[in-house]
Amino acid sequence: MVDRRTTIKWVVTVGAAWPLLGPRIAAGGPVEAWQGSSAGEGYGTDPNLLKVYKPGDVWPLTLTAAQRRLAGILSDLIIPADEHSPAASAVGVVDFIDEWVSAPYPRCQRARPIVRGGFEWLDAESRRRFGQGFAAAPTAGQSAICDDICDASRATAERHEAARFFAVYRDLTAGGFYTTPAGRNDLAYIGNVPLARFDGPPRELLERLKLI
């Protein structure tokens, strides 16, 4: 249900902007086009659903050691450790992002140049301002750069691309983090357990919210 709803939302959001595709053979779908890839790529249309997968199991990871180092620093700037949960890199978010930008699917392939280009921009910006790459820059300097690009609506025109990268990267970090047990726990998600009965919200809560 949620998947379906998300899919339909995607249709409404991006539908009007779809390019007119050349071939007459229907090559798209409400999720996205799947073109130019051989049938053997990806996990296929009938993968084993019961196996537990790790990044790298289905397609090779492609980020370099330096890119992974930068990825970890940036993920932890976005989701650092606090009293509720560990930092993003501590729960495998770098692997998750590496899996994402290495995947053969169109949505992931669109993210790949954005992420790699963003890493390059961060390094260049850091060298310009602090004389060293982003990973080696002082934390205050890293944060200063992030402050400039964390909100696309406030970023200057020349930082527009970098802000777009940051938004994508934050979504990837949050997507990787909040789907782990630590992330679910941080949000106090307490479902996904079998119950003998389901009674809905407690009466006191509904009364407090003036819903009954």
Partner: protein
Amino acid sequence: MPFVTPKSQQRAYDVIVVGSGAGGGQTAYTLCMDGAKVLMLEAGRRYTPETETAMFQTPDMAPLGDVGTPQKPFGFYDATVDGGWQVPGEPYVRATEEYGGRFEWWRARMLGGRTNHWGRISLRNGPYDFKPRSRDGLGFDWPIGYEDLAPYYDKVELLVGVYGSNEGLENTPNSSPGCLLPPPAPLVSDYLVKQRAGRLGIPVIPGHRAVLTRAQDHEGAPARLHRGNARAQKILAESMRGRAPCLWATPCGRGCSIRANYQSTTVHLPPALATGKLDITTGAMVYEVTLGRDGRANGVSFVDKTTGTHEHATARVVVLAASACESVRILLNSRSAQFPDGLANSSGKLGRYLMDTVGSSVSGQVPLLESLPPLNEDGADGDALYVPWWLYRKQRAGKLPFARGYHIEFGGGRRMPGFGTLAGLEWLTGGSYGVKFKEDARRYYGSFVGFDGRGEMIPNENSYCEIDPGVKDRWGIPVLRFHWKWSEHETRQAAHMQRTFGDIIEAMGGRANPAVETDGAKAIAPGGSIIHEVGGAIMGADPGTSVTNRWQQTWDVKNLFLTDGAPFASNADKNPTLTIMALAWRAADHILERMRRQEL
């Protein structure tokens, strides 16, 4: 041996059923319970929900956090295998790629078809829905009325298990006593929608879904469904005892290993197989209905996907339930000197009047729902409540710029966080990162409510499918080419949905994001994308203007029936699956009766 290969099939069956989803499953069930010998042919592989369903797997166990990809469009753990908007080696063609003219064709090549993953929303058509032309002069009347189908709605609800309530609202029929299971408890967001939409005069009532909110009545229901048939009663009672009630966790779209919701593979096929009367061949891609010299169908030809060989199976009666468009494709490809334009197409209406559901969505964020205490809100996986169409009077008075109605499905809650749950929050957070982002995530998680309109599309001359003259699939079978066009009845309805959802979100003290889209042509989801495609072989009272009669029997070939969505003469806002099943049961009863009388 119920699962058979082409080589181990018997020489002749009473009935061949093509397809194993809602229509095929119900047809085979009804026929086999009454003793008919049935061969079911399914194009996909055998599928066993009890052992294959990912029930409690979490997104971190899947590639890419369980996000949808072209190979698994509704997520890695979605029940659908070998299916989606594109099926490798099985192309289809669109006449245009323009938005508004696109048609998206979802297929599920697997035993049970799309019943394995569907939303389980099970609404009855009402009396108006069978006579739309009589009411407003548009579209077509069905040759049957609600009273013809009401007993079969009762039967299907009892058999598959549907929760809901009887509210007695206009054109929103009650079920007979004892048919419905109790509705599940609503979530906090449901209470809020009910209260605030209620203030706008919009009724919010319990939804109807094919989910067991308690164990089925395995003592009473079988006797009620199979009066005088002790063997059928015994088999059904056993099947019902094998189904556990909902355990209030895991998304229904993954399928259900404890058989708590309806899928053909857990509800229709097990008892049908237990009769010993059903043989199933999977991997059988049917492409033609063959005719005997007497002008009757004598069987079907299919490709055995495992060997690539062409095979033929014979029976007294052929039933197509391959999904509306696939059944149409089979008939259009069944050409002969007698039927040069496709079998059962003397009216020229085969492939015409394709319909989908009008779909449009708005999501909003609601401060009242922020920072709620920890709550388990998995529930019955959504749709505890819904909004039936409520503006009949206004529409009758000519005060709306579109002729037909829509219902509203909505949902919120502190559901299992997925890849996108906390994406795109900048409009609320100002782009926070760091500790502040984590605080924002806790604050906003669970505070979103999404609304989906599901509306009636009126059949039109510009929405149809035909055989493409050039393109063939990997087996050399000619493929479909789709034409699509909405009328203003649909686009204006979509705009009305958007404004209504915006009003409800505002009444909840929330904000819509993205903003409400009042251009209906932009707000409407592409044809086919709601996966409610029906029509293409519509039923009618006149052989000159319809493909089947009131029994879903083709006018041209008397032992050929269609029991999927193809015979629908209209597509009410009510999701079609329950109606497909009720019609299939009725058609199967008719086939049994005619076979008993030796007329088939």
